[in-house]
């Protein structure tokens, strides 16, 4: 499957909302992930879920405060990695 940036954003957002975070209806793809409670364990579990969906392991060293700002920015980082793979 070819992953567009929009599809990746949706997938990352769904994993976060449904499986990893305990968040309310106000959680959106632009919500700040650190403020929403994302910690290092949850990020690693997210990366494992992304690998399961896309087959690409995201290099943890690419993750920064900026890339983890929101589901959208994280998906952009993953998309760039998939494009370069």
């Amino acid at each position: 499957m070819e992953w567009t940036r929009e599809a990746l954003t949706k997938r990352v957002y769904e994993i976060l909302r449904d499986d990893l975070l305990s968040v309310g209806a106000d959680f959106t793809p632009r919500s700040n992930l650190i403020d929403a409670g994302l910690d290092s364990l949850a990020v690693t579990q997210l990366l494992l879920a992304i690998e399961e969906s896309t087959g690409v392991w995201v290099d943890e060293s690419l993750l920064t405060e900026e890339t983890l700002a929101s589901a959208e920015s994280l998906a952009a980082c993953v998309h760039a990695q998939i494009a370069s793979a």
Binding site: L20, G37, L38, S40, L63, L68
Partner: protein, 448 residues
């Protein structure tokens, strides 16, 4: 359908039972209890009498603070017996006066003494508070909250202090606390738990191929005399340490940087003694609270990830970090966070001394090499407690006589605190100097 707990009883979590096993171990070998402590160093403004009244009010409204811990029929998993709390003693609050200002002065020796005490969880002796006032409070106060470790974990204790402050300021009532029931309180999925526990056991056995040594040695039976010192780094140093941690360990896993530095500091002491440590095996607590939820206060909500560092890797900080990062990823991929939690849940049914006996059998008489925790920012965003500015805040959990050493890191308003909790006599004066030199050099870098 699993039976829901009665509202007057709260089952201990698996992690609570894990800590209860340590408590049993400490009582047996050292005559004390396995306690934890959160210390606040405050500026002027604390009304210690009002704090004492507040703790009494809260303990009246929240009986878990003095709930006897008992097994139903002596066999079923242990519970906090809220229904028996009315007969238990109220938490003690003691106010002590000291002449000098606190500032960056050493901690009151009383706080370490509190960690050496023996309390009886079966009678509901779970929580106490000590206030040391300087110049009657005009020059500030130090406050130590000390509790039997299964009542609160590090994160829960910070939530409790925050909540206590809100009640004290009148922002909420003492009864207004909707704590989560333990997520693992009922015994569903026993077979899955059993299988996960066996996977965890296999992992522990694989670590035993190079069983660890602690600096105290196995099965030390000595009266508990814990010493605690807290090194607080400046903001400039903390910035530099933080940048180094991010560069070497990554944005996500700074705790591995502190773990690696702690392993190397212990290795430096083994080298002084000329003893082969065989390997360093260290458990890292992992917070299991739902991410983003208000979160539980009472009960410990953690699993453990176990790391092993071979001495031949300890010569190079970056190489050691690479190994620890690989172990962390592999353990999470293999479901070891969940397996550890399942093993601890399973242990709720075992006699409380069984876990320690099993660990010692597996690790050639040792429990682990040392205790370690990294709790990140302590009381983030909270600038005052009951009207007094918070100058510093940190954790100091007790450590059993063996392994005899605990390294706890946290950050308060841009300053790193390193709490070194150790059993008296485990480090000689010279070894302690070497330990600190090694740690400081690794944290700050060679060109310090």
């Amino acid at each position: 359908m699993p039976r829901l707990p009665a509202p007057d009883r709260i089952p201990l979590t698996g992690a609570d039972c894990f800590l209860r096993a340590f408590d049993s171990e400490v009582r047996r070998t050292a005559g004390a209890s396995h306690l934890a402590q959160l210390v606040l160093r405050l500026g002027p403004g604390l009304d210690a009498g009002a704090l004492a009244k507040l703790v009494a009010e809260v303990a009246e409204a929240q009986p878990i603070l003095r709930a006897p811990i008992r097994r139903r029929y002596g066999l079923l998993p242990p519970e906090f017996r809220l229904d028996l709390a009315v007969r238990a003693p109220m938490p003690r609050v003691e106010i002590h006066d000291a002449p000098r200002a606190n500032g960056e002065a050493p901690l009151p020796p009383l706080f370490a003494e509190r960690l050496n005490e023996r309390v009886d969880g079966r009678r509901g002796e779970l929580f106490r508070c000590d206030v040391v006032r300087y110049a009657g409070g005009a020059a500030g106060s130090d406050v130590a909250f000390t509790w039997l470790h299964m009542l609160l974990d590090g994160s829960g204790s910070e939530r409790f202090v925050r909540w206590l402050d809100e009640v004290g300021r009148g922002a909420r009532s003492a009864a207004d606390l909707r704590d989560e029931a333990p997520s693992d309180s009922v015994g569903s999925g026993a077979r899955a738990d059993g299988e996960a526990a066996m996977r965890w056991r296999a992992r522990m056995r694989s670590l035993a191929a190079r069983a660890p040594r602690s600096l105290a040695g196995p099965l030390a039976r000595v009266p508990q005399r814990l010493e605690v010192d807290v090194a607080t780094f400046t903001r400039e140093e903390t910035e530099r340490i933080g940048a180094r941690a991010r560069k070497l360990a990554g944005f996500l896993t700074p705790m591995l940087f502190y773990l690696a530095a702690s392993v190397r500091a212990h290795a430096a002491v083994f080298a002084l003694r000329g003893i082969d440590p065989r390997s360093f095996v260290v458990p890292l607590p992992v917070n299991l609270r739902a991410k983003g939820a208000g979160g539980a206060i009472f009960g410990t909500r953690v699993s453990m990830l176990w790391f092993q560092a071979l001495p031949e890797l300890c010569g190079d900080l970056e190489g050691l970090l690479g190994e620890l990062k690989a172990q962390r990823l592999s353990a999470i991929k293999d479901g070891m966070v969940e397996a550890g939690a399942a093993a601890m849940r399973f242990a709720r049914w075992m006699p409380r001394s069984a876990y320690a006996r099993m660990a010692r059998r597996t690790f050639g008489g040792e429990l682990c090499s040392f205790f370690f925790a990294y709790t990140d920012e302590c009381l983030p965003g909270m600038t005052s407690f009951l009207g007094a500015p918070i100058r510093n805040a940190f954790h100091a959990p007790s450590v059993p006589p063996s392994p005899g050493s605990g390294a706890i890191f946290s950050i308060r308003e841009g300053r790193l605190n390193f709490s070194h909790v150790r059993q008296a006599g485990v480090f000689s004066g010279f070894e302690l100097v070497r330990f600190r030199e090694s740690l400081r050099a690794d944290l700050l870098g060679a060109d310090e």
